[in-house]
Symmetry: C2
Subunit: 195 residues, 2 copies
Amino acid sequence: MADILTDTPETPDLDACQSETDRLVACAELLFFAYRDFTGEPDAVLEQYGFGRAHHRVLHFVYRNPGLRVARLLDILKITKQSLARVLKQLIDTGFIIQRTGPQDRRERQLFTTEKGSALAETLTNLQVKRLAQAFADAGEGADKATRDFLLAMISQDQRQDVERLTRCRDHAKNHASEKDMLDNDPTSVSTNKD
Amino acid sequence: MADILTDTPETPDLDACQSETDRLVACAELLFFAYRDFTGEPDAVLEQYGFGRAHHRVLHFVYRNPGLRVARLLDILKITKQSLARVLKQLIDTGFIIQRTGPQDRRERQLFTTEKGSALAETLTNLQVKRLAQAFADAGEGADKATRDFLLAMISQDQRQDVERLTRCRDHAKNHASEKDMLDNDPTSVSTNKD
DNA sequence: CCAAATATGTCAACATGGCTGACATATTGA
DNA sequence: TCAATATGTCAGCCATGTTGACATATTTGG
């Protein structure tokens, strides 16, 4: 093992008991624990709505990207149509997300969060943003920039650009479907659901 | 929303198009994508053995903490006994992990990776360590320290110390059950399985 | 020494959220 | 008008989390 990164002879004082590889293994473990706690609080809230983490992802990306199409959502989440359909249907049936026929191409379904959906999305995001802000504060000066660079670099090369585009400069604020929008484009005319 | 962290008026040039909250939301998303790719390569290898990510976790922590007891493993993974039993049994039945009766307390089962188990654990760890090393290289000077601090800070306060103890200064190297060990303490005398 | 506590194993049953493959519908565009 | 496209839907499988109950071996304390 340890042949990808031979232990540096000049092991620094900090973490003197660990080799370079050991530090990276520790990082892998930290990532596991950190991610678990990162998702823990939202999961607890979602449970009260009968939702799971999959619902969170859908709700989040729709909220942050109003008008998102189903095909794009599949591409972002990299799950199958069936996996998405299950949770998306629940979010639509319970009034957290609405869909409208695409104004140009009527085959398309544009997804939007309702007021209720936006509120939940923000509640969940707040939990994670607070935790991130606190963690960066604890980690000290410059940790946020370094961490963002690190996280981006952890993403497979062929998707980095796509993710970067997705995560930057979006029209995120207060974008839930309003009453007047619903008049313009009745979502019931689109739905194939009978209930 | 955005009331937890009001947007700083002095938004720096870097990422000038994003508010502070937006940058944190971007971090949340990056964490999702990064974690997915972080687990992607090991998952693909595990599939060839008929294993999943749950097996990886068990194998990993047993490999890195030879002699680990079941109760401790439950505490680390924070899953139920049944969830662990399912994957652990498979790992034992297929010869990746063995268990021995505790030398002091014979109720205990100490877990060890076999040579085969150690090899797989290292293969999987190598994939993740390589990715981490490359990401830190890409992210530039000091990213590793900052990221480790960040990840630790992301872990819930009440578990941080425990995790820190777990991830530092372990007797990790080449610790698989050897032939002579098996003579000292026959694992078959412990098993309640008939097959 | 026996009884309670402990460590582990095991069972049935259930939920979530991945997956496949097939097929239906509406709509667009050549 | 017909092929391609975007979406919806169905049946069923798998992995991995959950609960609660119960069995067994072993240790330990009164």
